[in-house]
Symmetry: C2
Subunit: 504 residues, 2 copies
Amino acid sequence: MSQAPAISPTREKDFPEWYQQVVRAADLAENSEVRGCMVIKPWGYGLWENIQRQLDVKFKETGHVNAYFPLLIPLSYLEKEAQHAEGFATECAVVTHHRLEVQKQPDGTTKMIPTGKLEEPFVIRPTSETIIGAAFARWVQSYRDLPLLINQWANVMRWEMRPRLFLRTAEFLWQEGHTAHETAAEAIDETKLMHKVYADFLRNHLAIPVIPGAKTENERFPGAVDTYTVEAMVQDRKAIQAGTSHYLGTNFSKAANIQFLGRDNTKQLAHTTSWGVSTRLIGTLIMAHGDDDGVIIPPRVAPHQIVILPVTPKADTRQEVIDSCEALAKTLRTQTFHGEPLRVHVDKRDLQGGAKNWEWIKKGVPLRLEMGPRDITSRTVAVCRRDQGPKAKDFIPKEELIRDITEKLQDIQDALLKRATEMRDANMKKLDTLDEFKAFFAEGGPGGFALMHWAGSNEEEDKIAKDMKITIRCIPISDEFVEEGKCFLTGKPSSRRVVFARSY
Amino acid sequence: MSQAPAISPTREKDFPEWYQQVVRAADLAENSEVRGCMVIKPWGYGLWENIQRQLDVKFKETGHVNAYFPLLIPLSYLEKEAQHAEGFATECAVVTHHRLEVQKQPDGTTKMIPTGKLEEPFVIRPTSETIIGAAFARWVQSYRDLPLLINQWANVMRWEMRPRLFLRTAEFLWQEGHTAHETAAEAIDETKLMHKVYADFLRNHLAIPVIPGAKTENERFPGAVDTYTVEAMVQDRKAIQAGTSHYLGTNFSKAANIQFLGRDNTKQLAHTTSWGVSTRLIGTLIMAHGDDDGVIIPPRVAPHQIVILPVTPKADTRQEVIDSCEALAKTLRTQTFHGEPLRVHVDKRDLQGGAKNWEWIKKGVPLRLEMGPRDITSRTVAVCRRDQGPKAKDFIPKEELIRDITEKLQDIQDALLKRATEMRDANMKKLDTLDEFKAFFAEGGPGGFALMHWAGSNEEEDKIAKDMKITIRCIPISDEFVEEGKCFLTGKPSSRRVVFARSY
């Protein structure tokens, strides 16, 4: 019996629309009536909580502490760093008033009129370099105050014209690391360290293989000396910039006046960095792992790693089955997976079994376990792996399942990474000529990551971006990409291939 | 040798100024250049992270899940619930534009001008009943969709005219629970349950005894049918409202149209609740437990519960001492206190010992341990309890310390609660006449919580608030306050005493 996919359209048919439908079917988020702002629903937020907690451990292991800085940024702060300001200025929420006047209307309703005009307007932070820089300037006097290693978990706003749930929303949640150092070398080490933390997190927690690399000058963060990125390929073969780490040189410390008395007794400017990942990771995860039945969440970050579905065909055995399921859940919860207690949910709702089952398939729970009266007698459990399709079902002795449960979760985690890696590798091609490049990205062409020799100018890079909507995603740091050759556009010598792709 | 207090002025001399100085000396937070908005520094944020994590466990144990809703609220949402709007409308940050135009000035600097006027302005959420109500209206169709038990961790803004760090800031961090129920009875149970969660949390985690009770109509949350509060007394004998839980009846569901098809097949309005605590808890904690040497943080929520200070008089034994301290920290970290691994920090900075010691005293670390070369030989540790003053020091055999460490932390936790309870009870008086009431609150009078019989009108209550700055903090729920008597103002019969006090 063939089963129609739960999501319509399929990925093949219309990937962007498939994405919207998966987000809805998995109950991850929805659009609000506030343009471009999403509501992150409990299932999506649970995923974010896991990402947040696990990343936070890594930040603390690398010596960072959390703090919190104001939501509002005075315009004068933005004006101090012109290049930065221009990069963000065009799409900000601007606060101009601090009071509302309540006006009763003749029909009994209420109107509210903004009053209390501010002398200096504020923007809602699109990123916090300027406001955190102002605090750092107060905190740093001597080289002994350095390094400052701070992270903030926060909401930020950028007035996006074409919002898309998780991938590009006006308001989003993120973390932004901000550090200040005595020397350029230390700041560059920090930038690279956090870049590696991101690459490892994507790979080991989200099961997404990324290509870590540097951005070209054209693609850098406004005001940065160097931007490092982790680029993921998703199933329509486009790239997603999943996280960035910036070496800011002394550009921001100059603007904010982060000065310190150095070891040599001279006044010096601190070298700063910033780095961030956001709820965009959730969009990347969906596009990387989802199938035509919904999302597939890697076990390490799944809100429920295991859902137990009691099979209760008869009223008189219902309670017994539920008790057995609860007992199994309790046993499983005593085990840990990567240091965290197993997250096991028993779905006791009195709904039709097929409906419940499909709900968890669409939500991407890694493992579904079914137990009914016969399974209790035979001491077996029906085990369904989400990554093996809706019909995958193994009957496994209960004791064996309990013994092997974390191994099974790791198998799923590994299988997702393997599948995503194979997908990426199959769609990453070394090309040498402009014709090959054009054919690769032509409509109906294979598409993906084109590994190209490049020695063009910024203007030539820009022209490709404008004409073909293809950008250099990164200059990979891995030695695998080192190779003598000639730029596919200019013929100039090049010693390393870069990654070109279309992107979100 | 007597030691001058580390904080000037003392609590006795000028409590409000003492508070500001403690916050500064403990490096908890500071004012930013954005009026009324604070920077929460790492030590203060670490405290908030512990409060947040521990409360979150309690919310989840009581069946709630987290989600996230937009920062911006359309004015039209506020206009729907007039009473609510009027309660919040006067002090909101209003977003009116969504773009900035960068203007290069002749002198090379940059000016930024707000452009892109919005058709409908937004306010930055002062609280989220209206925007979450709009989401609930989409989510609820049938009684089967209820209850909805949601919590949000978020930042909110209220344009405060007289800000004070933690206690009253324009932006603050909080959690807001929002739930929708089928019946009034269920919603009232939820309101009371969360009220109890708060009272227990304050008592057991923050070591602050509170008086749980209902607000009078005058003091209710705008739009609420009933507001429950937990009222703490701090050391200047004023009250702080530390958390509130509101039964909103159908007021908000009517405004937002949260309707469902009931069991009887009729359309019904959901009954909703909301409840919240904020970074104000940190201000309450400081004012409840601090002394003239700084803050004292209860062990359960302290960012470091234990700081180990290596005593290194000679260079040649320095490394050995540090290694011993690290080894002790490692051993201690294997133990748990209330289910969380012990938070132990070794302060290895090459600073003068006295300076380091005083830093941790001011920051309120519950236990300081000192180890030097002689202690290593004698296998003892010098143990300093923060709650027993700066000179308290016991020499304890290391093995005994390791064995008893969690007991010692619990002793400190209990001692803080006991001290705060005694302080409160000593300053809580049953009074019966207006003269007694006036004398109690007169300048130079004892002040504190006046337990009064009350049967006055809302207008009479208002007049006391205006004339004397004294309000009814709550109508306590405990039976201890049940007693026949006569209102001290009107002489009308009353069957329960209420709490009058000055407050923050």
